[in-house]
Symmetry: C2
């Protein structure tokens, strides 16, 4: 009888039933996040949940490590898993929560609600002037994975003209009005009223948003980053916002996290800072999706089916 | 040759051309807002724009007063216009700007971006926990005029289940999933995750939102008021938010405006205050719509056609 170690946030009855149904004939062992031991790990054929990588020293029995997170960076290094262990993620489970956060931030900046909130703190009844609309806005979505497509659908549903920017060529997605490649960015960016970035980390995207690129954007442009903090340096972001290259930005990810208290970014009126909070399990629907993916992969592993979200150890991303 | 006095925010060439085309054979006199004199008013057969009511003493030549605003309260009192002068408004022109403001505020509260903005002011990298989604939310829209229907369409486009609440019976609007009457409010309100109010002023809606009604709402409910401030007293709103009857509110209209600096409402963390700013000409599209309505009514008045948005002097509202 195989042992399945499950270490996720607290699940409800339906979620547990879903995992039990997928793991017929197995022993399911629930261990709360943070309480997992080396013995728990060594005794399991299957682990569900992002157990600390430090506990993993090529566990001999482990056939499948199904992470609860969308990123796998910490688990692809040598010595963590032995060759043969399959590593899968919950990529996709977080698309709604991240895309919705980015979208809410976009509308908030368009309507200047961040400035009204500041004025409220000063007990000031002050009109902040002109606003803009998502209806008719040209919205550039950088990264057309599940998050980017979710955001694109929301923006289009409210009347935006969406340009999707991808790394690799493919047929045009139904979620966008126009699609182009990363190398076309400089040609399309000056048309955008909103640029929202879901770019992953890695050398290809590090400091992608240079000051020169911000200078080429519309002065009224709104920039939103819910991808990786490495895509823009704190210095560049500060210069772009102080100099008026763009109107405003909402940023959830930073090169240094937590953002140091002495960072000048905190004090920028036209920057909304959130503390890498768009993901996690803040939205109840996220945990439902995580359980769905885990149950599917659990069943596939046990019955010889095809697993989803399998990580390529060379890139750290989905194969 | 009839004289048409136009006193609106500064128009662009296309907007001026639209009015000129509608007023063939007339003399068009543009006077900036705030610069209109008694003589300007007395010399005009048609006035376009919300000239100060204090300048109007039943002007004898005036056939049509086409306001630039959606409200006509200040113009229906005795002695302002002589019997026979037609009074029309720009009701409808403001629906996009008001509905979008209310919608942006809804998403902002769902994602706790008001709390993140406060934390940013304190340079605090702090996770504010669980958020909610518009997708699958039950949204109650109070008032199904053009603003309410615009908001309803946005919410539904992003996956909300929308219940529209109306004063008068009518066939179900396409914009909502369910429709009921104001007297059904107490029955449906406890189902709502979001209650957004676009109720007009007047005795029937004054203090409609009593503390008892807030107590019957879901504790997680978000309340948004972009209708009239008279619908809820400052005391009731404060109690509802302090006691946790509801989770949060965004309010653009107050019984006393400007909201006095000493009001305890300013300091409520779970209340977003905006200074009656959802309307006006903050959104460029609004002025386009105002000019469209003015041009249509101008042409109708000159050619004997049917005018839109004609005010009933008894109620102060659209006939």
């Amino acid at each position: 009888m195989k042992r399945v170690l499950i270490s996720l946030p607290e699940l409800n009855i339906e979620q547990k039933a879903k995992l039990a149904a997928a793991a017929e004939g197995c022993e399911l062992v629930y261990v709360p996040e943070g309480a997992v031991t080396r013995d728990d790990v060594e005794g399991a054929e299957i682990i569900i949940g992002s157990v600390p990588a430090g506990l993993l020293h090529q566990p001999g029995k482990l056939e499948l490590l199904q992470l609860g997170s969308s990123g796998a960076d910490a688990y692809v290094a040598d010595g963590i898993l032995r060759p043969g262990t399959v590593l899968t993620t919950c990529t996709g489970a977080y698309s709604q929560t991240v895309a919705e956060h980015a979208f809410a931030a976009t509308l908030m900046l368009q309507k200047k609600l961040h400035l009204y909130r500041d004025a409220q703190g000063r007990r000031e009844w002050t009109d902040c002037g002109a606003v803009s609309s998502i209806n008719g806005a040209v919205v550039l979505v950088m990264g057309l994975g599940e998050i980017g497509r979710y955001y694109a659908r929301m923006a289009r549903a409210l009347g935006a003209y969406v340009i999707g920017v991808k790394r690799r060529p493919s047929a045009k997605s139904d979620c966008v009005d126009e699609q182009c490649l990363t190398e076309d960015f400089d040609a399309v960016a000056p048309r955008a009223d909103v640029i929202v970035s879901f770019l992953p980390g890695g050398p290809a995207t590090t400091h992608f948003y240079t000051l020169e690129r911000f200078r080429a954007m519309k002065p009224g442009c709104i920039f939103v980053n819910c991808g990786r903090g490495s895509a823009v340096s704190a210095e560049t972001l500060e210069q772009a916002l102080r100099s008026g290259c763009i109107a405003a930005a909402a940023v959830d990810v930073f090169e240094t996290e937590p953002l140091p208290a002495e960072s000048p970014l905190w004090g920028l009126e036209n920057l909304l800072i959130t503390p890498h909070a768009s993901g996690f399990f803040h939205l109840p629907a996220t945990l439902d999706r995580v359980v769905d993916i885990c149950a599917k992969n659990l069943k596939a592993q046990l019955t010889g089916g095809e697993l989803m979200n399998v990580v390529d150890f060379k890139t750290g991303y989905k194969k």
